[in-house]
Symmetry: C2
Subunit: 460 residues, 2 copies
């Protein structure tokens, strides 16, 4: 039934009871994530409490069997795929919101709570948790933390790492640890909780999270600004980020994306628009009009083609339509898509976009850039036909050049998707040998036998 050592299987079946699965058909459901990669785990554990996780990690450590934490498998890098076999620990049953404490602006949750469920529970308290990945409706808080998920709101409110106060976790040693406190300040020992965020399950399994919450702004308003070219839009981004009203979203589309939205998606955009910014402000009824004015002033400048202000929620939806038309439009160009999320300093966005378009020409593949401009975090979409081996190879070759370009511009490989399997071969280009050696030493401190999510994040 399972390739696991029989003693381990028996031990874990006793620990997990109904939450221990070895049937191959059930295991298959935990073999994949949104990276299109797949590898069958030897077993699946569905713990309901921390003690089971401790017992499981200890038992697996004794047998040197891999342990792979899993939220809902929405990540795009293969970080949840059990490439070395072992036990997938799915946190779907540890999905309780343990406390919401509005006076302390924090919530305590188990890792399997869906991001969207949490937001719904927080809304009556006038609070929210800032990370808003596209997957928010069906990705877990634990997964968001493991990958340091971001989203459009990160430009104002930060990504997952910026919104965690404390974590309970089980290290690769099998020891339960508690890092941080439910306070917004702390200078008491090493900050292990932020180190765990983004570590993709390679250091510890998160079993409880105390999250930093933010008051929900009662209102928001969107602007759509069209620019002649990317350089003009990028200058506007720098102006927008240099004045005191930080936009709550600042999304970018390059010329190809604008053309696609217009020609394929049917968006109402003038042909002279070579770049688009979606800009949002949030606040209360009194301050919001002034915030919108400040953003409009900053958005204006040389190369601005048009700017539209959405007075109400319906108008906001219309303005966002161009952005939302983009993803379906991309699919009409080619069946295959590599979506990477490199990040560069904001001032280098024009060079990134220009460089990517040069690569599109060199490799004869459409490449479309859009994303979170206020953080310099662009989604670079390489489009190709997977049935055409030549195109696939060209896409891979172009991708390597995209990473090299982002690094040359002082940026890095990933802003919010993480490394996983997909980008680990590139990590030595982003991180120098002594720093990489230190990351390995840190990994060994948390997980001396290397049982946690082997084959991910750090290259061999």
């Amino acid at each position: 039934m399972t390739p696991l050592p029989r003693a381990l299987h028996r031990e874990l079946a006793a620990v997990l009871g109904d939450g221990w699965r070895v049937d191959p058909n059930e295991r298959l459901a935990y073999a994949y994530d949104n990276s299109r990669r797949q590898a069958l785990p030897d077993a699946v554990a569905l713990p309901v409490e921390r003690g089971q996780v401790v017992a499981l990690v200890r038992a697996c450590r004794a047998h040197r069997v891999p342990v792979i934490a899993r939220g809902r498998g929405t990540n795009t890098t293969g970080a949840a795929v059990p490439v070395a076999g072992g036990v997938v620990v799915s946190f779907e049953r540890m999905n309780r919101i343990l406390a919401i404490r509005p006076g302390d602006r924090c919530a305590v949750v188990e890792p399997g709570v869906l991001n969207g469920e949490l937001q719904a529970a927080l809304e009556p308290h006038g609070l929210f948790w800032p990370p808003d990945p596209t997957s928010a409706g069906y990705s877990t808080v634990g997964g968001n933390l493991a990958c340091n998920a971001g989203g459009p709101r990160a430009v104002k409110y930060g990504a997952s790492r910026d919104n965690v106060l404390a974590l309970g976790a089980v290290a690769g040693t099998g020891e339960p640890i508690r890092c941080g406190t439910a306070t917004t300040k702390g200078a008491t020992g090493y900050d292990l909780q932020r180190l765990l965020v983004g570590s993709e399950g390679t250091l510890a399994l998160i079993v409880e999270a105390t999250l930093r919450l933010t008051p929900l702004p009662p209102a928001r308003r969107a602007l759509r600004a069209l620019y002649r070219d990317v350089a003009a839009a990028a200058r506007a981004v720098a102006r927008l980020m240099a004045q005191p009203v930080t936009p709550s979203m600042l999304e970018f589309m390059d010329a190809t994306a604008v053309r696609l939205a217009r020609e394929v998606g049917g968006a109402d955009l003038p042909p002279e628009a070579g770049a688009l910014l979606m800009i949002e402000a949030d606040g209360d009824a009194q301050t919001l009009p002034h915030a919108v004015e400040a953003l409009m002033r900053a958005a204006a400048g040389e190369g601005l083609v048009a700017i539209d202000d959405a007075a109400d929620e319906a108008a906001r939806e219309r303005l966002w339509a161009a952005r939302k038309a983009l993803s379906p439009a991309l699919r009409t160009l080619a069946p295959g898509k590599i979506n990477e999320d490199v990040v560069v300093p904001v001032s280098r966005i024009p060079e990134l976009v220009d460089g990517v378009q040069a690569l599109a020409r060199e490799f004869a593949l459409p490449i479309v850039c859009f994303g979170h401009a206020g953080n310099g975090n662009l989604h670079v979409n390489l489009l190709f036909d997977p049935a055409d081996a030549g195109q696939g190879a060209r896409a891979e070759a172009a991708l390597a050049r995209v990473f090299a370009l982002a690094l040359a511009l002082g940026g890095t490989l990933s802003g919010e998707h993480g490394i996983g399997l997909a980008k680990r071969a590139f990590l030595p280009q982003a991180i120098d040998p002594p720093t990489l050696a230190l990351m390995r030493a840190v990994k060994a401190a948390f997980d001396p036998d290397g049982i946690l999510n082997p084959g991910k994040l750090l290259p061999d």
Copy 2:
């Protein structure tokens, strides 16, 4: 001249040239910090560049000689005191601002730059670096990072850890490392840069920092709200923090502090005021009045005695006078002061203040609480006469109870001062054994021979 091994002395004299000091009188100047503790280093190094720091750490490691990083010695915990001898590395000559990049909202600095110098250089660009410890005029950025310094602005803009993008450092192995990138988002490997912040020189020596900057709000306005008692003020703090206009400062004074400011400092405060909040908003001319209104609404409520709004900078200074009268007034009460900076969840502030006043009665010592209420980070000042051994012993005993109280309320030992020597004996009460063991393992990964700032932060 120096107790160092002769070979090491010769090697480091060659590496550092004029920046190598072994004269006992010169060494004495680097023996202390603001903790009133003192220990003579065996030598002082004043490097001018990273290569010297690498050579120094490698040489000291070969001889197992301690290396103690030092900014300007303003910290209050003894973290910069060379209790185990060795080489103090003062960064006073690595004090260049290497780059200010307004378009990327970042600055690159050497660790010896003074916080105040940096702010002055940023101001013409309309930017600032948020950490604002009281020592800002004469403390260094490197020291601020090493201790995770905060200050009143942290309530809106975060402490040092929240405002760093990348660090260059030299680990205890002698290896130069580079962690993070000059981007506000990153999901590329382990977040070692935030781990280094607050590690008090026990993991690595910071030799370069890329700092996250924030646009300087053009205007600010202060409110002073007086409450009947601490409970009423604390409820107001919770209301203030639960609405969308985050105050740029939210400072608290307890009844003893208010009475002192009035009776000794001559501040104009009514006798029925049992607690005081200083509330500031910042923004531009358009949004600021609305922000102030929102804060006034939130500050109002049961137990409010009076609220004053400073229309201009002169009025602002008058409102702050009560707070500023406090420190000199404290000195009139007793010559000795232990100032600790525990932190608790905001909702537990009343229990902390009540508990501290019960300890003041039990130990027959004045204890005055004030500080950064929006973060729950209160400065608890125990006043005593050091010439009176009984008072000194009572103050120490009361201090231990203050820490126990903060921990029992779900808080921790320090919000912004750090652990250093002063609080390391208490660390096992704040951090459980497996987590402390993991911190030691992380320390060993960075500093396998334990040469960096021995005797600090982690207990033996």
